[in-house]
């Protein structure tokens, strides 16, 4: 009961912050979507970080390390420590400057103007929205699951907040916050949320370390001495090609609409300085404790364990009830922080790139656009909530969709890099790259296989009364190979463990997608006519010409 009370106090604080933001808001789109481009340095860092961190950073990371070991940190966290700040430094700052100069509020409006073409923007919008929607739905599903898990009574094993109610609470709080507060409300709430979940890891480690007799070292040595589990402390089971190819995945970060839109909202470009330096440290603060505790879960917990719930189980076992509630609020913060930005980003894109672009703004004005945006937020969260309820059993499909969406957004990075740094890039290059990404996404997703069933307990051959039969090793599923026998080159295969498609033995599909996207961008740009000199001067000249900003956004 106590964790539930703590979480409700937390939700009340979130709603209160949102209401203050509402009182400060103005009825124009620049204020609603970008908080009037007025976000200061520290707030910008905290909010940008919250935008990119989901519940996966806490629950997923510990669950994955429970299954696969410490390699998860290098695979997902430290690669992000390098790539994400780099993209913010080189791409985010330029996006910010172009937003200030020309009034862009979304990537799509920039692409449209940069390449003098409406349709390329619409194509990129459609692809981005299609890849973002499953992400938003799974955030609500994650919120419902976490609230149910946290509120499950140890005696009755029944949740005080059932899954459906949990999803409704998360959807309602996010909707109220974004609907009334827009970007300002979301960002203010992020300050509180990010501080909470940044503290989560350190507090969890301190509390659990205090509760474990003998300290962490003893348990790590236990894992090391266990022949079944010792690979959890190494990367023996993680192919180096897979490990390397994962470094391309964080390229997706800056291509996520909610991240790019956040870049437009900074007051000054200097806000990026602190962000890029602190970003790796913040990842370290969250991921290191979660990965470490996930691995420890293999020896500190007993009984049947859902890997994604391993951290909650550890808190339940080793932390005082009230603290478990506060830490649970930290997890919910991670869910809501990113979900709010996803909802706001979808609303911004629909309002600016579709509604306003195709005449809605002229007809209904700035105030009408904000009303449209609010109505859209309401509709989209209700739909996402209903989908989360109806398709709970098919959560795995959404998870797979997100895995592919990450590859898809990463593969769109060459389009953004070309737009920003290559004068000669053309709309046809961008369109070819976008179509390639969309087709390869659908193609690879259609080849996705089912994950192998977890190994069952070894069977004893009673008739022969000899040693137990070891579980059969899952067979690798080859989709396309060249040649036969041991020299055959496996072009495409499926991972036996996850069913994910692999390229050239163990590379992730993001590798051919990024290379292909860059190739088509370059090839079709070279084959077609570049944008007009006037546009190139506008985007690559250093001096600002008065009257360049679109009239409507000067308000």
């Amino acid at each position: 009961m106590i964790p539930v009370i703590v979480i409700f106090i937390y939700l009340a604080i979130i709603a209160f912050i949102g209401s203050i933001a509402f009182r400060r808001s103005k009825t124009n789109t620049e204020d609603f979507f970008l908080a009037n481009r007025s976000i200061g340095s520290l707030v910008f860092f905290l909010s940008l970080f919250a935008t990119n961190m989901t519940a996966f950073a806490i629950l997923g990371s510990s669950g994955q390390s429970y299954r696969q070991g410490i390699g998860i940190y290098g695979l997902m966290a430290s690669s992000s420590c390098f790539v994400i700040p780099m993209t913010i430094f080189f791409i985010g700052t330029r996006l910010w400057a172009l937003g200030k100069k020309f009034g862009h509020q979304t990537q799509v409006s920039y692409f449209r103007d940069r390449w003098e073409c409406n349709h390329i923007g619409t194509a990129i919008f459609a692809l981005s929205a299609a890849m973002l929607v499953p992400y938003m739905i799974i955030s609500i599903m994650g919120g419902g699951t976490v609230l149910a898990d946290i509120s499950t009574s140890a005696e009755t094993h029944q949740p005080l907040i059932p899954y459906a109610a949990g999803c409704a609470i998360v959807a309602a709080v996010v909707t109220v916050n974004v609907f009334f507060g827009g970007m300002r409300g979301t960002v203010w709430v992020n300050i509180f949320q990010t501080i909470l979940f940044l503290c989560f890891g350190a507090v969890a480690v301190a509390v659990i370390s205090h509760a474990l007799p003998g300290g962490f070292g003893e348990y790590i040595k236990k894992i090391m001495d266990d022949p079944k589990n010792h690979t959890l402390l190494t990367r023996e089971k993680m192919p180096p090609q897979f490990f390397w190819s994962y470094t391309l995945i964080p390229l997706s970060s800056i291509m996520f609409p909610h991240m790019a839109i956040m870049c437009f909202s900074a007051k000054k470009v200097t806000a990026f300085k602190r962000t890029v330096v602190l970003y790796p440290i913040a990842i370290l603060a969250i991921w290191l404790p979660c990965v470490f505790l996930g691995v420890l879960g293999t020896v500190t917990l007993s009984g049947k364990i859902d890997p994604d719930g391993v951290l909650l189980r550890m808190l339940d076992t080793y932390a005082p009830v009230w603290l478990a509630g506060i830490l649970g609020a930290g997890i919910i913060s991670a869910v809501m922080g990113s979900d709010a930005h996803q909802v706001l980003a979808l609303s911004t894109m629909f309002t600016k790139d579709i509604f306003a672009h195709y005449g809605g703004k002229q007809k209904f004005g700035e105030r009408g656009s904000v009303y449209f945006a609010r109505a859209f937020i309401l509709v989209v969260t209700i739909v996402a909530y209903l989908v989360a309820l109806e398709l709970k059993a098919k959560q795995g499909i959404f998870e797979i969709a997100i895995r592919y969406a990450f590859s898809g957004f990463a593969a769109m990075a060459p389009v953004m890099i070309a737009a920003l740094f290559w004068k000669r890039s053309t709309k046809w290059g961008a369109l070819a790259a976008t179509l390639f990404v969309a087709i390869s996404l659908v193609g690879f997703a259609s080849l996705q296989g089912k994950p192998a069933a977890p190994p069952s307990a070894p069977k004893v051959d009673a008739a022969a009364a000899v040693k137990p039969t070891p579980p059969a090793k899952p067979k690798e599923d080859i989709i396309w190979k060249i040649g036969e026998g041991p020299d055959a080159i496996k072009i495409l295969s499926r991972s036996p463990a996850t069913g994910d498609v692999r390229f050239m033995n163990n590379y992730m599909t993001v590798v051919p997608m990024v290379i292909g996207s860059a190739f088509f961008m370059i090839l079709f740009s070279l084959l077609t006519r570049p944008p007009s000199q006037q546009t190139i001067n506008r985007y690559f000249g250093r001096t600002n010409t008065p009257g360049q900003r679109p009239v409507a956004t000067q308000a």
Binding site: I70, S78, F82, A97, G215, I220, K221, M224, R235
Partner: protein, 80 residues
């Protein structure tokens, strides 16, 4: 020359992410509890922060700040 050195730094940081030498090792345990592969990547995260600090100090796109100041003064004092 400065840009070349920074380019080499960035490439080197990217390359050392792939730490083959720690792949199959759990020991030594750093602070008596962190397997070397995990401790290495924790240190790598700090290295990334330092690299970003160096980039901010050396090749920060100052022209974007100047352009913004120009734009702000233009908005405050529009040319008629």
């Amino acid at each position: 020359m400065k840009k070349l050195l920074l380019f080499i730094l960035v490439v080197a940081v990217y390359v050392v992410h792939q730490d083959y030498w720690n792949w199959n090792k759990a020991e030594p345990l750093v602070f008596d509890c962190l397997p070397i592969g995990l401790a290495y990547h924790a240190g790598y995260s700090i290295l990334c922060a330092i690299t970003m600090w160096v980039l901010v100090k050396t090749i920060w796109p100052k022209h974007l700040e100047v352009e913004d100041e120009d734009l702000q003064s233009e908005i405050r004092n529009p040319k008629v």
